[in-house]
Symmetry: C2
Subunit: 163 residues, 2 copies
Amino acid sequence: MAMHVLVERLNINYKTLEEFRKFRENGLEELSMLEDLQANLIEDNSSSPFYGIYHDGKLVARMSLYPIEARFDRYFTPPRDHYELWKLEVLPGYKGRGYGRALVNHAKSLGRPIKTNVRYGAQDFFVKLGFRPLKYSPTRDRGENPYVWIPQEQTEEDATRLR
Amino acid sequence: MAMHVLVERLNINYKTLEEFRKFRENGLEELSMLEDLQANLIEDNSSSPFYGIYHDGKLVARMSLYPIEARFDRYFTPPRDHYELWKLEVLPGYKGRGYGRALVNHAKSLGRPIKTNVRYGAQDFFVKLGFRPLKYSPTRDRGENPYVWIPQEQTEEDATRLR
């Protein structure tokens, strides 16, 4: 039986940014948040696009979930408000506990379609969670592996098609 | 002294696609090329966006270089025709021989600005080759770490600025 795992929306503060440094995918985005905080361009504890899971008070898994408006949608027909999911990562020593799945399920619970770029080795993980690959488009995808998940639609007429 | 390393434009054929399977970043793009070849949608030996280095007849390093027209440019001011570089990868056992550098230098020799998404651990490699990080934009970059390289400009007036 899976334990209940709490997924929390992360606030941007020095503690969070310090915890982010343990994750592999730590780059210009995190640096930019730190600079904005230092320059008072954003307030301490501003809400971020990151969600995470704590274990014994320590951030051990995270993902970023960025809302994309329908007018910027390049993946669904008709265009839809959706989320772009990236930086899904569980720290070494905390894998195999369902934390990654809990994060993705949280994203799905928000009720919008999701697009993500699936890295080598993670295809099965996302397929098991109901995602499927899109047909590759060189101009749109530029080397990405776009996979999408769509909430169950009410009727056939409502069905969202993929590009 | 560095040996001369030959960088070749790769053609899409069954042999190339079979060699691509040894690389980690093998996904929808390579699958799409295979399907197009099987369905006769493209000819055998069509030119691809990939460049590679062979050692004893075996493909041991590759990159993809995709031309972006100025009207689709989101990185330079004024907008410029440039290349997007991705899937730069050297097979295990062939690292430390300058193959990655030779591929990037080949891209630079084409005379256009280059944009790439730098992964964790590769920042120093690209900075040494004259690339620099852009200011992170959440809407544009969505978790990417965009680094760019710009050819030396003739005059101050010609100088390309970064967004």
